[in-house]
């Protein structure tokens, strides 16, 4: 058994951390509050190959695995400057294209996803289909060689600066009449695609969007994998990388909050000694640190299983990691705020700024209840309740 990252993974961790520290939480919050994106950080990370670590080398990526992408996600978050769209563009979309895209799609999209010059959002959630994505109402209809898409999507992150949205729709199987999922690459400037911003209580440079697809006409090449049979496996290919990287972000955010808090409590004096000397202050931080570290371990277990090609086991670990890190990060941020007293609620001390994001981590991309359902059913062998 080995709990160590490889030398290269460790070097990557140090390099990403150094880059993230140069930007930091003030940069992140400044951008969020100005309604801007963390474009500079994204571009620099892209140029250094950190966004493309898991994309195959033949397509300009780093040829590493999800473990490497996990390191990137976690370390940037641990510096207070997370990149949410790492979860979407490199983790979900690039994995789907690398595994299930046509040769032409790989050649066209992967090199630019690898260096970050291209950003692709991912849209599955609909007003009537969130946890239950079997009820997708966005329909793709064949018209000659073209596809015509109609439907609505909600909560889609980063659409305003994405070049494409990978849209999960349904097609009608001509022989059986059954509805099958199919994935399409829709340019964000496609005719018939409109969007409006959702007002969210999250301080983040990344916004969530409502998308309206009204007779969006796409050429045959827009269908991921070039066949409707590719839809279901392609969709599932994105799930584990999504959960693992989202979990890594939560773990990093937890570390960031505890780092801020412990530096504060080691120096802040109220009764003539640092408040960290009171166990009432230190123990909750220590407890949160244990929860974060436990959850982190599961993230790396999931990444290792995934990279070893053990998809089913990785699925269980990824869900557990997602659940555990979301709770640990929420606890860490809450505890860090408490340890800061009034300063905890200021923008300057940079912990309350994370409240919305860590709270959302228990809902998106998959809610804690749905993970409990999954574990009850697939680990504990209980009958499906819904």
């Amino acid at each position: 058994m080995n709990f160590d990252l490889t030398q290269e993974q460790n070097d990557l961790r140090e390099a990403v951390s150094a880059l993230g520290r140069r930007y930091g939480h003030e940069y992140f919050i400044g951008k969020a509050k100005a309604g801007e994106h963390t474009t500079e950080l994204w571009a620099e990370a892209g140029k250094l190959g950190y966004l493309g670590v898991s994309i195959p080398e033949e397509y300009g990526g780093g040829g590493g695995g999800i473990t490497e992408l996990t390191v990137v996600c976690e370390e940037l978050s641990a510096t207070g400057s997370p990149l949410l769209l790492l979860v979407v563009s490199p983790a979900i979309v690039a994995t789907i294209l690398a595994r299930h895209g046509t040769d032409a799609q790989r050649a066209e999209f992967l090199p630019r996803l690898a260096d970050g010059s291209l950003l692709i959002a991912f849209a599955i959630t609909e007003p009537e289909a969130g946890s239950n994505f079997h009820r997708l109402g966005t329909v793709a209809r064949r018209d000659g060689d073209d596809w015509v898409l109609n439907g609505r999507k909600c909560f889609i992150s980063g659409v305003d600066h994405a070049d494409y949205v990978m849209v999960v729709a349904r097609t009608e199987d001509a022989s059986t009449g059954r509805l099958m999922p199919a994935l399409f690459l829709v340019p964000t400037d496609a005719a018939g695609l409109t969007r409006s911003q959702l007002d969210m209580e999250i301080v983040s440079p990344e916004k969530q969007w409502l998308l309206y697809l009204d007779d969006v006409r796409l050429p045959a090449e827009a269908l991921v994998g070039g066949s409707t049979d590719a839809g279901l496996p392609a969709l599932f290919a994105g799930l584990n990388p999504e959960r693992i990287t989202v979990a890594a972000m939560s773990a990093g955010t937890g570390r960031y909050a505890l780092d801020r808090a412990s530096r504060y409590t080691a120096t802040r004096q109220v009764w003539g000694r640092p408040i960290g000397t009171h166990q009432g202050v230190a123990h909750p931080l220590a407890h949160a640190a244990i929860q974060v570290e436990l959850a982190r371990l599961m993230v790396y277990k999931a990444a290792a299983l995934y990279d070893a090609g053990r998809d089913l086991e990785a699925g269980v670990a990824a869900n557990m990691a997602k659940y555990a890190t979301a709770d640990a990060a929420a606890l860490a941020v809450d505890t860090a705020i408490q340890a800061h007293g009034g300063n905890g609620m200021t923008t300057e001390y940079g912990v309350a700024t994370l409240l919305g994001a860590v709270r959302a981590g228990r809902i998106a991309p998959v809610s804690r209840e749905m993970i409990l359902n999954f574990v009850a059913q697939h680990v504990l062998g209980q009958e499906k309740s819904y």
Binding site: Q7, D11, L12, L19, L48
Partner: protein
């Protein structure tokens, strides 16, 4: 242009440092890193290589664990490295260090040698001068800017008042301050490639140097004793009972500040 960058592994200046029982720098338990100034030297070499072509070689003298710093230096982009490693080197003074590095440089035939202006452990700031003297080539030291024009090197030497413009023909040794550039982060490709780059190890025998010329045996001076810097004094509190201003001026003039 054939460029050699001198890279020293040092204990992290951000953490607790000390001397070992034999009065040499404690390197065993320390968190060892690339001497900060040397990262600027590497960056400068890579920029010149990008413009002029040629090869960048890292040269390090240090114990086995210095290999870690060599790997990290290579991950920034240099082509190869030479590691001088020999048990007899332990305890070397600046003079013998320069002898070893000069001998190793002799095997590499550089047009340009770039070093940091000082290391954060030894801090003697003399290595570039000593090496240039031994090789009989020019030393352009303390650069905040370096330009290459064919075989002519021009630096802006940083001084307390401003800067001096100094020129020399290649081959030469240039030492740089951290004002010269912004070192790059290693790219992921660089990190993955670093381990596969050639690292040549040389022992003293390969350089024609006798063990007795270096290390404790050959040291031109000896560290006899050392003591921790005394803790800061508490300072003097001036209570303002109406004539605090006068008391302040009195203190400042007693220390000859005013």
């Amino acid at each position: 242009m054939n460029i050699v960058v001198l890279v020293k592994q040092v204990p992290d200046s951000g953490s607790e440092r000390g001397l070992a029982g034999d009065n040499t720098v404690e390197r065993q338990s320390a968190n060892n890193v690339i001497n900060e100034m040397d990262e600027y030297a590497i960056e400068e070499a890579l920029r010149i290589q990008a413009a002029e072509g040629g090869e960048v070689t890292i040269l390090t003298m240090g114990p086995e664990r210095a290999a870690e710093s060599i790997r990290k230096a290579l991950s920034m982009g240099p082509d190869k490295a030479v590691h001088v490693i020999d048990d007899a080197l332990h305890g070397s003074c600046a003079l013998s260090t320069s002898k070893v590095l000069a001998a190793a440089l002799g095997t590499l035939n550089p047009d340009l040698v770039i070093a940091g202006a000082e290391s954060t452990d030894g801090r003697v700031q003399v290595m570039p001068h000593m090496i240039a003297e031994r090789l009989g080539i020019a030393a352009l030291t303390g650069a905040r800017k370096l330009t290459v024009d064919g075989g002519t090197l021009t630096i802006e030497r940083q001084t307390e008042e401003g800067y001096e413009v100094v020129t020399a023909a290649t081959p030469a040794v240039v030492s740089v301050w951290d004002t010269i550039n912004e070192p790059r982060y290693p790219s992921f490709k660089g990190i993955m490639a670093a381990k596969k780059k050639p690292v040549q190890t040389l022992a003293l025998a390969d350089l024609g140097i006798e063990a007795g010329e270096v290390g404790f045996a050959g040291a031109s001076s000896e560290v006899v004793e050392h003591a921790k810097r005394p803790p800061r004094q508490g300072g003097q509190k001036v209570a303002d009972d109406g004539n605090g201003g006068a008391a302040l001026v009195e203190f400042l003039s007693s220390e000859k500040f005013v």
